[in-house]
Symmetry: C2
Subunit: 242 residues, 2 copies
DNA sequence: GATGGCCTGATTGTCGGACAATCATACGAT
DNA sequence: ATCGTATGATTGTCCGACAATCAGGCCATC
């Protein structure tokens, strides 16, 4: 007869403290903008040393659950912003040796439906920011850095226009990986800038007129163009990003 | 004439240390499995106190870049695992008051293409684990908890079968949110279990025969069924998840 | 030779106390 | 009302300390 014991795990104090505060935030007892007690006070309440509290705070801080308003020492509860989350995800993907192809394939699947949904759900304000983003790309695409940034920003506007936070967030890490990919391609392909500008215009026009099918189609074409760009720039498709 | 100064930001030491180590990991100087020097040694190298190093380590640890093999004190470099990342993302979405509908809509857009890609790229091993997951759901769905878990696990198998890490990771937070949604629905809808079982079988059969269109279609139906389930269970669609 | 016991040094988790720099706020001077 | 100043609170960093645990070597036992 074989006796087996469960692994006994001893959780360090700083993680217990972090878990306790996290639970309070998730249960909404602590709401966004609420100020956390001082470190000394927390140490007193939890009955641990201030150093232990500080280690716990670093965990929450890097998870985005706490933040400090610029130029202030007080820590306030915050909802993790999409960009911050995306940074972590993008980093993870880069470390997993994600290839250009994988990023492109994901964009292929994700973006056209998003354009369609955006065409259905966009508000007037969405449309305005979409047009503005398109305009910014058209106006300031001389510097590689600005061009890349504005191209990604256009996608973000589409994402917001879907009014679906899940889709918006799912897209974000992709854009984080698209930027470096685009950076190495855009200057090698002379016609890239104009093609992007045209595609963006078609897309925002379709979204503006609520033409769902047209929006999807032009977005699909837009993404296909990226692939062509990579081929023209002679970038191997199984090269890893980042 | 207006003079404007950039905001001067003083970065605390623990964040500089964290950034320095992170950079080493992202540049692959530190590779997965490498053991980090001891805290005392790091403190010596960076010329800061051990407490400062520890706060930095907590940041990296919660970001998944460092981990401790169970029952060991040594910290080793690690690539953030998908599940860990997804936990953060799911938490963020929950705090942003994501609704059932948003999760469902995202699944609607994401899963059918994934099934199609899986049908194209799956290996024999993928198919085996897919069949096994399907079987596990069919066999052990009496307990709510197990049923929910196995249902999500089936999606994960499909995700792995796509051989696209980006898609697999994008899907993960959705599953994290699907589980609680499914948990409140599955026991209220008598026919839910059998419908899920049937859909899973159709999907894995299509993937097995590499019938891309059939895989997509059945997956789409599978997701549509979830929506019907919510309606039957009388769950308001704009209720927030979590 | 394999196993287990024992010792030693290294490492982590936690603690207490300390201090400079900065922030928040109230008070007073101009 | 605006600007300085004083005061207390808070954070960032440091130092030193110690128990608990881990890693590895040594040795006796079987």
């Amino acid at each position: 007869m074989s006796v087996e014991f469960d692994q006994i795990l001893l959780v360090p104090g700083y993680r217990k403290v972090a878990a306790a505060i996290t639970a309070r935030i998730l249960s909404r007892e602590l709401r966004e903008g609420d100020r956390l007690p001082s470190e000394t006070e927390l140490a007193r309440q939890f009955g641990v040393n201030r150093s232990t509290v500080r280690e716990a705070l670093r965990e929450l801080e890097s998870g985005g659950l706490l933040e400090r308003r610029p130029g202030s020492k007080l820590m306030t509860v915050s909802r993790p912003q999409h960009r911050a989350i995306a940074k972590d995800v993008g980093r993870a993907l880069a470390l997993h040796d994600v290839t250009f192809f994988e990023v492109w394939e994901a964009l292929t699947q994700l973006e056209p439906p998003m354009a369609e949904i955006a065409a259905r759900n966009r508000t007037t304000a969405d449309l305005e920011s979409l047009v503005a983003a398109c305009q910014r790309f058209a106006d300031e695409n001389a510097e590689t850095e600005k061009a890349v940034h504005h191209a990604a920003e256009f996608f973000r506007c589409v994402g917001r226009a879907t009014h679906n936070q899940v889709l918006g967030l799912a897209q974000e890490p992709l854009l984080g990986l698209l930027e470096p990919s685009l950076r190495v391609m855009i200057d090698k392909v002379p016609q890239a800038r104009s093609r992007i500008a045209v595609a963006e215009r078609r897309i925002h026009e379709a979204i503006g007129k609520r033409e769902t099918e047209a929006a999807r189609t032009w977005m699909a074409r837009h993404i296909r163009d990226f692939r062509k760009g990579y081929e023209l720039a002679d970038i191997e498709f199984d090269r890893r990003v980042g």
